[in-house]
Structure formats: structure tokens, C-alpha cells
């Protein structure tokens, strides 16, 4: 590992403000966004930057999230860099146009601050919103810390715009826990970010009048399927590109990123799989268990879409028992969406360890170390005695 090229400046910021700084440093041509708790501070802070002349972005205060994404689509098709931010119901309201963005292959960047979906009305964190958009053709990264929220925000742009990818990209940070949680992070110098993101030169654009182009035509039974296959291929290529950009970002900052992070995973017998800020809490439990002689480990997934099946299967294949933690429910399904992916990856790669799925943390329900200790205890039990009872369990729920 070489020493980083630039020294960041340690600051105290919450996740929302850290992301607002990242957007300012990336200086997109257009930001179209509608405020919604717990994302509001991103929009609030960024519109201050615009009003103060600290960034020359065209800020469009739209009337809804549907309009926000639509404006981003227009701006991106016109050849500009477009970004937005949203949460919960806001993301759900964008649903229809998310598919237009990905189907048109527009490298829009979205900052999602995870919030549950109503009803009952709830403003707190779970992953129902971004999981609801998991089939919409967007690359999805998840942040563990405020530092990662900042770092992923910047890398998302490079991933989205890579010529082999050209897919809209979102990164998701846990609402309130990271969004409103003040943490220490290192901000890069403005010019380092500017250099890292470079200048966007789209191959096609609506404003290139010398090379006129039609965006968003109708395709029926003749070509629609072929274009969907192309999106799937772009996702496959993103599996190669995301770690390359993570490596380049690491050379710059000293913070390297891949598709996943193994924490004391290599020689672990019992592993959990999780997304987002909960991964940090699990790390503290893994440390405690290791001190007690339990071979515990964690697979923190950074990239959920595309799902790095081979990487995950190879990292988990030799484990005795695995628990997958889902911060969302897929009603009527056999399991949560993360579990579904992990199990499919294991099965198709010829592995069949014992597995458990936990739904946890819905509507912001706090997840504490004692509950994670229970998960590892359950894993040790099923390894010894086989699976008894349902494979989908509820963690931190009053029974």
C-alpha cells in the first residue's frame, strides 16, 4: 500500500452535511431535489452553497421527487452531470422514472438517506426504500460510516459515468444513524475531488446539435428485450469497474474500497452478512466473541447492485453457519432480499452451509450488541443441533 496522494482535513459533520460537501466538491451541472426527512439537510445545505455562490450548479427546487428525477433525466440527456437526493417515500415516488434513467443509460447520481415506507407513518431508518428500487437498474452502494457516505458519494459519479457502465448509481446511508449522526471524517481538498471526478464528456447529448439524437423512443417487441439485456451486461461489467475505482480512490486517499469488506472473516466459522451502519456494531461484537475464542466474522456488503455473487460465495462457502441480516421485509416472500441473494450465490457456486435470516431494525428500531450476540449464539446452536424452527427470524421484536 502506498501512502495517499492527498491529506484530508479532519472535520466533524453529520452524514447529510458530509454528502452536501461532496456534491459541492463534485460541482454537478444540475441538482434537482425535493426535501424530505431525513435527507432535508443535504438539500438545505447544498442550496445554501448555491445561494452563496460557492458552487455554480443549477439548483432546481422541484415540486416533487417524481419531478426531481425527471429533471435529472433531462439534464443528463442534455449532456450534463445531474444529481439528486431523497429518502423513503420520496424514492418510492420516483419509482417510475428510476427505470427511465437506467433504461436510457443516464449516469445520474443519487444520494439516498434510508427511511422506512409508510404506513404507519415513520421517519426512521430501514432499507425498505432502496430495496424497493433494487430491480430498477441502478447501481446500489451502502455506507457504514459518515466517512463512507462521503467517499461513496464521490466514487458513485465515477462508477456511473464509466464508459463500460453508464448506469445511474445511488449510495444509501442509514437515516438519522448516519444522516444526522455527527462523526469524524476527512474531507478531501476541493481540487483533489475536482481532479478525481474529471470532466464528463458524454458520447451523445441532446445539446450536441451537430450530431442530433433521439432520446426515449418507443420500442415494442422488436428491440426492447435487447436493450434490457444490455443493461444486465452493463451491471456485469460494473462488477469489474467498481473495485477499480475503489482502488484508484484508495491511492488518492488511503481509503480503499471493494465490492465487500470481510471483517475477521477469512478464518471465521460463523459469519453474519449485513449492509450499512449495523456492520460497525457487528464488528464490535465480532471482536468480543474473538476474545472469547469464538471464530466469528462479518461480511459487510458494500455493493448490493450489481450483486457480487462469486465474491460473496467464495468468502462464505467454507463457513459452518451464516446469518444474513435484512433491514427490510419482503412480505409474503420466504426471506429478505439480501438473504435471497446470498443463498442463491452460495447454492449456484456449490456451497450449502447452514443459514439463518433475520429481519431487524424496521422503522429505526435500534439494534444493540446483545441482539447480535444472540445471532451468533443461534448460529452455534444450528451448527451443533441442526436448524429447528423457521429460517426467517425477527430480531429486536417484542414477541
Amino acid at each position: 500500500m502506498v501512502s495517499p496522494k492527498v491529506r484530508g482535513k479532519p472535520v466533524a459533520l453529520d452524514g447529510d452535511r458530509a454528502v452536501a460537501e461532496a456534491i459541492r466538491q463534485m460541482s454537478p451541472d444540475v441538482v434537482a431535489a425535493y426535501p424530505i426527512t431525513p435527507q432535508t439537510e443535504i438539500v438545505m445545505r447544498f442550496s445554501e452553497f448555491v445561494a452563496n455562490g460557492e458552487v455554480d450548479t443549477e439548483f432546481i427546487p422541484v415540486e416533487s421527487e417524481h419531478a426531481a428525477m425527471s429533471a435529472c433525466i433531462g439534464a443528463s440527456a442534455a449532456g450534463g452531470r445531474a444529481q439528486t437526493a431523497t429518502a423513503g417515500a420520496g424514492l418510492a415516488f420516483m419509482w417510475e422514472v428510476l427505470w427511465v434513467a437506467s433504461g436510457t443509460r443516464l449516469p445520474i447520481v443519487m444520494h439516498v438517506v434510508n427511511r422506512s415506507l409508510s404506513a404507519p407513518l415513520n421517519i426512521h431508518c430501514d432499507h425498505s426504500d432502496s430495496m424497493g428500487a433494487r430491480d430498477a437498474g441502478w447501481i446500489q452502494l451502502y455506507d457504514e460510516t459518515v466517512q463512507e457516505a462521503y467517499d461513496n458519494a464521490i466514487q458513485a459519479l465515477r462508477i456511473a459515468e464509466h464508459p463500460d457502465v453508464m448506469l445511474p448509481t445511488l449510495h444509501a446511508m442509514d437515516g438519522f444513524i448516519l444522516g444526522h449522526g455527527l462523526e469524524r471524517l476527512e474531507l478531501l481538498p476541493d481540487d483533489a475531488v475536482r481532479e478525481f471526478v474529471g470532466v464528463y464528456k458524454p458520447e451523445h447529448s441532446l445539446l450536441d446539435v451537430d450530431h442530433p439524437v433521439t432520446y426515449g423512443p418507443m420500442e415494442l417487441t422488436d428491440y426492447f428485450f435487447e436493450h434490457k439485456r444490455q443493461q444486465a451486461a452493463a451491471m456485469e461489467r460494473a462488477l469489474e469497474i467498481i473495485p477499480q475505482i475503489g482502488e484508484e480512490y484508495g491511492m488518492l486517499t488511503g481509503r480503499y474500497y471493494g465490492l465487500m469488506e470481510g471483517y475477521r472473516l477469512e478464518d471465521a466459522e460463523f459469519a453474519t452478512v449485513a449492509l450499512g451502519s449495523t456492520a460497525g456494531t457487528i464488528k464490535t461484537v465480532v471482536d468480543e466473541l474473538r476474545d472469547q475464542g469464538v471464530k466469528a466474522g462479518l461480511l459487510k456488503l458494500r455493493c448490493f447492485r450489481p450483486f457480487p455473487a462469486t465474491t460473496v460465495a467464495e468468502a462464505l462457502g467454507d463457513k459452518k453457519a451464516i446469518a444474513v441480516l435484512d433491514r427490510s421485509l419482503s412480505f409474503g416472500a420466504q426471506c429478505g432480499p439480501l438473504f435471497l441473494e446470498v443463498i442463491t450465490a452460495l447454492f449456484t457456486h456449490g456451497f450449502s452451509p447452514k443459514v439463518l435470516n433475520y429481519a431487524y431494525g424496521l422503522g429505526g428500531r435500534d439494534i444493540v450488541p446483545a441482539q447480535i450476540h444472540q445471532v451468533y449464539k443461534d448460529l452455534i446452536d444450528i451448527d451443533r443441533e441442526g436448524l429447528a424452527g423457521p429460517s426467517l427470524r425477527y430480531l429486536g421484536l417484542r414477541e
Binding site: T104, P212, T214, Y215, G216, P217, E226, H227, R229, Q230
Partner: protein
Amino acid sequence: MTLKTWREILAGGLITDAGNTEEYETGSWRSHRSIIDMDKCTHCMICWVYCPDGSIMVSDGKVIGIDLAHCKGCGICVHECPRKAISRVEEALAKEGVQ
């Protein structure tokens, strides 16, 4: 026409060849054909303005006929012609040469 594979087409469904509607012959959609009576026509160009498919053929400032490869037979020209110089007949009859 042989359709291309997913590896051969431009991403995102973009169309980069401007004016390519000419390649798409919509004349087969037509159930009625417009016929211009050249004796009545004053070449006022009202039909040319209104035609949604650009199917009124013009040469040297004069209307010379209808582009049957693209005319969908909507009948707007018939309705708009101030001299009632355009009439409308069933396509099947027009094909048999009945006027």
C-alpha cells in the same frame, strides 16, 4: 428485415440518424387515399402545411402529388383544402384504378 442482436445496437435506445422516419414506410397503414384534382388546385400550400407526415409532394412551388409510401390516409388535407380540390376514396378501390 433482419433485426440486430443486443451486442450490435446502441445503448439506451438512442437514435442517432436524424430524419430516419423516411426509412419507415407508413403508407401501408392507409385505408383511404387522398386524390388531388389538379384542375381545381391553386397551389395555396394549405395541405402542405397541415399534412402531419410531410406527404404532400412539392416541386418549384407547385403541388405535384401525394407521397403514397408515407401518407397514412388521415384525410386532414381533404378537410383543410379551401378549394375542395382533394377527395377521398377507399384504398382498395383506388388500387383498382377507380376514381
